[in-house]
Amino acid sequence: MRRRELHLTDENHNAVSPAIAAAVEAAYRWAMAMFPDVDSALLANAAERLAIKMENNKEHLGSPRRYAYAAMHGKVRDWLRKKAANEIPIGLDYELDEHARMTNSFQDAVERSILFQQLQTKLSARDRHILILLTELNATPKDVATALGINYKAATKAIERVRERIAICLDIASESPKATSPGLSTTKGLTKKWI
């Protein structure tokens, strides 16, 4: 079910204040964009409940926008964890999943967390800075050189090293017995894009 409009009211069915409405709308749209697999109706319900809570405590809110983002992010994270933990196919479902090479999302979650830990140990703050520049700010190697205060050649080398480090992590991940499953399909895309 897709839901795009929010009905943001307080407990008495009065419209919430514009600042809270804008903050919750923004956080809701962000969650829809970042977690497209999550049912938007669930997100909308969470956003509407969040608006009620924020309106009740508006005197204590420093920044509605910041609060709304943190709350929506937390909600989705908890929901995904719970969902992954509950999703254990058994019997015929399990056999069908095996046949279709479907993955168990709980296993995916564990694999992902292992991969993130590996990335954590392999990538330094500087490497992450380079990643943000390249992936989120569409920086060129020249921009990376400016940001890091190094020359162009050194910047291209640094980018290459980040790629190599990510590749090492992905290789380690692909050595796991589940490597052929679609659970790591995102890492395949990443490999294609980055290496």
Binding site: A26, W30, L115, A125, L190
Partner: protein
């Protein structure tokens, strides 16, 4: 979701928001108003909460840009349909002007006939 984004969203929890820049600074980074060597960028790479807000800023900017483009398109469409535009387009074509003149003459003749019948 993109694995790298998921990594930045998950791996650096900072619930107490220690060392976080304000929202305006994050928006400035998303808009490209900050120099690329600004330390805020480094912070975003080490704080999941700020990364979430930053990606939110980028999305909001994109939505705003798309809305502006749509508004411009609607404006352009409306402009082509307004009567001044139609009139000036017709005025540029001699044939159309003469057709309009003929239509006016017919209407005038019809009115004139009606008046004669009334008297």
């Amino acid at each position: 979701m993109d694995l790298i984004r998921e990594y930045f969203l998950e791996a650096f929890p900072n619930p107490n928001r220690e060392g976080c820049p304000d929202e305006e600074t994050l928006m400035a980074l998303a808009e490209g108003r900050l120099p690329i060597d600004n330390p805020v960028c480094l912070h975003v790479a080490s704080c999941s909460e700020c990364f979430a807000e930053f990606t939110g800023c980028v999305l909001e900017l994109e939505a705003k840009k798309n809305a502006d483009v749509t508004k411009e398109a609607v404006k352009a469409e409306y402009g082509s349909m307004n009567w001044m535009g139609v009139a000036s387009a017709l005025a540029n074509e001699g044939g159309s002007v003469s057709a309009l003149q003929r239509l006016r003459q017919r209407i005038a003749a019809y009115r004139h006939r009606g008046q004669n019948q009334g008297t």
